[in-house]
């Protein structure tokens, strides 16, 4: 079970992630998931996109967005499993699984964004 002490922190991460996901993710999915692949907007060159995403400041913001959004997911998803699917009896396993995934995802985000910063730098 997630220790009671960590609950306030997890709720804080949930809230911060909720804000980040709401503000940043719709435009990113719209641009790179739909508008650009489907040709609604002219395709930006790789240099252009790398220039933006690989900028250290942008990468830092994106790292925050990705990590916090993943912790937001973990909190909401475990409650979906507890309440929606009535799996409260398994909360120990569920908590460990979702937060492990959130941490692994955040580390992956760090690695990938680092790659982009390095690629932009030369």
């Amino acid at each position: 079970m997630v220790k009671r002490r960590s609950e306030p922190l997890l709720w804080l991460l949930f809230s911060a992630g909720g804000v980040m996901a709401a503000i940043f993710l719709p435009v990113l999915v719209f641009l790179f998931g739909l508008a650009i692949p489907l040709g609604w907007l002219p395709e930006p060159s790789r240099e252009r996109v790398l220039g933006v995403l690989g900028h250290p400041l942008v990468a830092l913001v994106l790292l925050g967005v990705c990590a916090l959004a993943l912790f937001h997911w973990a909190q909401r998803f475990r409650y979906t499993l507890f309440d929606g699917l009535k799996l409260k009896a398994h909360q120990g396993v569920i908590n460990r699984t979702v937060y492990t995934l959130a941490v692994v995802g955040s580390v992956a985000a760090l690695a990938v964004l680092w790659q982009a910063v390095a690629a932009r730098a030369g």
């Binding site: 993710l25 790179f32 692949p37 993943l70 997911w73 979906t80 995802g105 790659q115």
Partner: protein
């Protein structure tokens, strides 16, 4: 010992033995407000997918021209497009419900006066518009 005026209360540490009607696993389909609640909770799954999508893009762009091309071609395939349309719908649901709840979660004071809830929600929507425009401008300019 009936300190709470409750016939089932049997002292500290004991579980009241009340009958619990078994709840169906589809309990949330019985009422529209319940279904909406579960849809809102499910938005988190699409938040996670959006993060994966962004990281796949960042990785492709970091690796090279061919990988970037490959990402855009993959993102244009029908199943991914369908997934991303659904994702965008859930993200907007998340954003709207989140911003509408912001005034309830956050009391903003200017001096000693409390900012009206509508202004707090309005500020959140304004931030959404500004950030979206900024991101689009950075990428497309």
């Amino acid at each position: 010992m009936s300190t709470r005026g409750d016939a089932a209360y049997q002292g500290p540490g004991s579980q009241p033995r009340t009958y619990r009607r078994p709840v169906s696993i589809l309990w949330w389909l019985h009422k529209r407000s319940y279904a909406f609640f579960v849809l809102r909770e499910l938005s988190a799954v699409f938040v996670a997918w959006a993060v994966v999508l962004v990281l796949l893009l960042v990785r492709a762009v970091a690796l090279g021209e061919a990988e970037y091309r490959g990402f855009l071609d993959w993102a244009g395939t029908p199943w991914v497009v369908v997934l991303d349309v659904v994702t965008l719908a859930f993200l907007v649901l998340h954003a709207v419900t989140w911003f509408n709840l912001t005034p309830a979660a956050m009391v903003v004071r200017v001096g000693s006066r409390r900012l009206p809830p509508a202004a707090v929600a309005g500020g959140a929507y304004a931030a959404w518009v500004v950030v979206s425009a900024l991101v689009a401008w950075l990428v497309m300019r």
